[in-house]
Symmetry: C2
Subunit: 222 residues, 2 copies
DNA sequence: GTCTATAGTTGGATAGAC
DNA sequence: GTCTATCCAACTATAGAC
């Protein structure tokens, strides 16, 4: 109703799009539905976004940013690898469990992106976000617990993303919370077995929380 | 063109639907596109299937059956757990790698099913198929290598499905064959660490191949 | 059983008044 | 900037001729 600067209007519409898409699925996030959710008329959306693809892309970017933002929250410090990984994984899991719709939307965005050339890049961006977050988390754990890994950090990061995605997907289907958390705990234990005390360097002092660029790897992306 | 019994016509249309959906995505598998692919007219499809949902459901069932059928193929026998698991996982991976479209379709079916009440059950059926195949594979490995597991077989099965799904999804996005196979090999190694020699019972003689109801777990489902 | 024709929806996108 | 009105395309589904 009110006249807003385009930038703000865009934010509002992106939020509306996220609401609709998380709740009712990516298919339901039509231009019309988004306009209705935001309480504006159809024309407004087309005034702010060139076309539907641009809106979808903006929505995907918003998710990624959001995940990276969440990733800054600091987990409990100073503990052994085992419990540190446990906590990190469980925080991550809580975020997923409490946002079923968003998690499902993330997979919908991935598959949609993989099928439509005009959305090429969205899925890759999601994955890059996830991997960066996972790598940063690992770096954090390394410093906090004074360890390194017996395999390259990037390899572990990829595994984290894959395993969390896999268990999330299974949980989306059967809703078995117990099985999900059990699986993830087992995985944390496995990760622990890949850690070895950092040889030469003693435990590096922890940087201030906000210079650690993650805590919870983004798993919203594919 | 020709007059076929309904049952055969259905098979033909399901095949056509699989072709279209694997190639162009689940969205592209419209009644019209399927009819065109099968070389029949629009009305024929509606004569064979009550509505589009029934067609989609039939398509999903066909995938599951197909996966279970593939799972009967016998892997190389008589080896240690490590190499046995290695081979099983690599066979599984080859099947995925060579059917990118079908694999992607599987995830599309899952998310679609999770969003549409009228397709409720499809995703669960996919997952049950995967799990049954994984459990059967584990049972096979147990007999072939004379081992049992330090955690319940069902838990391992769920983990297998999750991990394979996770790595598959990552591969669909970035196409990194090397990373995928590396990750899966690492996982096979991990599984090996969960195996212990079967204590009391000596190695049970292998049943005939076709009584072993799997070899490759279905990972097509979500 | 198979075809054409058409009804009835839905959704993307634009034009033009205010 | 925002609204209404409208166009156009694609799709599901059905009716009825052959």
């Amino acid at each position: 109703m009110n006249r807003l600067p385009v930038a703000e209007r865009r934010e509002q519409l992106i939020t509306a799009a996220l609401t609709v898409a998380s709740r009712d699925g990516i298919e339901a996030a039509t231009v019309r539905a988004v306009a209705a959710e935001a309480g504006v008329s159809l024309g407004v959306v087309h005034y702010c976004f060139q076309d539907k693809d641009e809106l979808l892309r903006a929505m995907a970017d918003a998710i990624t940013e959001q995940n990276l933002a969440v990733a800054i929250s600091t987990p409990p410090l100073g503990a052994d690898v085992q419990s540190l990984l446990q906590v990190v994984i469980e925080n991550l899991w809580r975020g997923i469990r409490e946002n079923r719709g968003a998690q499902l939307l993330s997979y919908e965005l991935t598959t949609t992106s993989l099928r439509h050339p005009e959305l090429r890049g969205v899925a890759v961006a999601q994955y890059e976000g996830s991997n960066r977050a996972a790598v940063a988390t690992l770096a954090y754990v390394e410093r906090a617990a004074g360890v390194t890994w017996v395999v390259p950090r990037e390899v572990i990061a990829r595994t984290i993303v894959a395993v969390v995605d896999g268990f999330s997907l299974a949980w989306l289907v059967d809703g078995d919370d117990e099985a999900a958390i059990r699986g993830l705990r087992g995985f944390a234990k496995f990760l622990t077995s890949l850690a070895v005390p950092a040889g030469d360097v003693s435990v590096t002092p922890l940087p201030a929380p906000d210079t650690v660029d993650t805590a919870e790897p983004d798993v919203t992306s594919a």
